[in-house]
């Protein structure tokens, strides 16, 4: 079992714009929760601040920020939505 895992982080809206891309590869310690990806994002994204109501989806399933990531997962940061 590797000590580091790599996950794909999907970004949208202002975070996608700040990152200049909608998709980033992030390496972090095995056993890290979904919420831990935030600390690995570019400064330009972190400068936006993380809205309290942000939700997480792993592999297109809603999850909680405490859900443990596995190598190869796709984690989406779902900012407060405004469709409709």
């Amino acid at each position: 079992m590797p000590e580091q895992i790599t996950v794909t982080v999907k970004l949208f809206a202002s975070m996608k714009e700040a990152a200049g891309t909608g998709q980033l590869e992030v390496s972090l310690g095995a056993g890290s929760p979904a919420g831990a990806v935030w600390g690995h994002l570019p400064d330009a994204v972190q400068d936006l601040g993380l809205p309290k109501a942000t939700r997480y989806a792993i592999n297109q399933q809603w999850t909680l920020p405490g859900a443990v990531l596995r190598d190869g997962d796709e984690v989406a940061l779902i900012l407060p939505v405004s469709g409709g």
Binding site: K10, F12, A13, S14, M15, K16, E17, A18, L48, G49, P51, K52, A53, T54, A57, Q60, A76, I78, L79, P80, V81, S82, G83, G84
Partner: protein, 147 residues
């Protein structure tokens, strides 16, 4: 069938899609882009989705409405740029009676607005833009007195 559309929504087709001789009521709601000339005038709204998750979530909401209200249901949401006056989302239902038709229609639009990962970015006529996603991120336009 995909619920996300990059071109204009066909509200008349949504009505036709839910017609049934078993059902006594059809209800439709369409969300349209407001110009807001007295606040900061809107030129267009751009919608961005987590497309895969949005499709899954809209289908889930449609299933819920179908089960709860015995309704025939459809929903479509725009992605990309939507001009003022045009619909960005349309939901339509038919149900045995009026009360269920209204309830199912309201359920669809409320849940879509609450749960589906779609974000809007305002494009103002003064050239500025603003993401509505909880971060308050905006680009400046010409001064408007609104900050």
């Amino acid at each position: 069938m995909s619920a996300l559309r990059s071109g204009p929504l066909d509200t008349a087709a949504a009505l036709t899609a839910v017609v049934s001789t078993d059902h006594g009521g059809i209800a439709l709601f369409a969300g349209t882009t407001r110009a807001e000339p007295r606040l900061r005038e809107v030129a267009a709204i751009e919608y961005e989705a987590h497309e895969d998750l949005a499709e899954v979530e809209i289908q889930r909401i449609l299933d819920e409405a179908r089960d709860r209200f015995g309704a025939i249901v459809v929903a479509e949401h725009r992605v990309g740029s939507v001009a003022t006056g045009e619909p960005s989302v349309v939901v339509a239902v038919s149900a045995p009676h009026r009360a269920e038709a209204f309830a199912a229609c309201r359920y669809l639009i409320d849940e879509i607005k609450d749960r589906v990962p779609i974000w809007k970015r305002m494009h103002y006529t003064d050239g500025g833009t603003e993401w509505i996603d909880g971060t308050g991120h905006r680009t400046a336009g010409q001064p408007t007195g609104r900050g």
